[in-house]
Symmetry: C2
Subunit: 149 residues, 2 copies
């Protein structure tokens, strides 16, 4: 129930991205029942190839708490993290990730790669997926359908 509550907030952030022409992916980072960072994709606005929702949220969360280690946090994201974002999650020592839709093109949370749970790396992440998956898929499909129209 709590995961669905926070994923609803991540979906709301994703919708804000769609409204300004960004691919609707939203991420929030929660610590002790409080959102410490939220972001949607910003690549088109910023022309920054690294401006994915998760990466921006991780940087904001680290800045907020003054530590590069995001211990005791959960990252909620509406689409499975790509290799860059999964790598950043491991570097930031985020203990738990919840995502909605899987990404068959670049998913690194178990679909194409499983960087979040690779025993050769020095950090291992608990992963939950398929939370509000239909809402996330609908949002992405509507966005790309509208862009083609």
């Amino acid at each position: 129930m709590e995961d669905r509550f926070w994923m609803r907030e991540a979906l709301e952030v994703a919708r804000q991205g769609a409204a300004i022409g960004e691919v609707p992916v939203g991420a929030i980072i929660v610590k002790a029942g409080r959102v410490i960072a939220r972001a949607h994709n910003q690549r088109e606005q910023t022309k920054d190839p690294t401006a994915h929702a998760e990466l921006i949220a991780i940087r904001a969360a680290a800045s907020s708490i003054g530590d590069w280690r995001l211990i005791d946090t959960t990252l909620y994201v509406t689409l499975e993290p790509c290799p860059m974002c999964a790598g950043a999650i491991v570097l930031a020592r985020i203990p738990r990730v919840v995502y909605a839709a899987s990404d068959p093109k670049a998913g690194a949370g178990g679909t194409l790669f499983n960087l979040l749970q690779d025993r050769r790396l020095n950090h291992w992440v608990d992963v939950v997926h398929d939370v509000l998956v239909e809402e996330s898929r609908h949002l992405l499909k509507s966005f790309f359908r509208d862009r083609r129209a």
Copy 2:
């Protein structure tokens, strides 16, 4: 010869990082014979878990040219990219990467993973490695030895 020339510059940037207590990894991005971005690791200074040399250089290069696609560029880095940085290289469509030392703990340029050359992803990178490898290894070893002393 040209690769060695630019790698020497990346090593110099890495040394500047070591001088302020950052793990000595340096990256430069070259386009049409000109350096458009250079960076060393900055995690300790910035408390940003994503502040690896390559990621910072990619963001700076995109900002410099006003495009998230870093076409016709070569990224030189003194240590094999980690999964986050390799993912960012793919997202930025960097066509060529040259690295010095391989990284047995997290290398994603062929050692633990080969994210730079995965045919399932939508971009494939030419990779050259072992350029000035001894210089890079020496720099990293000296840094960690001095820190333990």
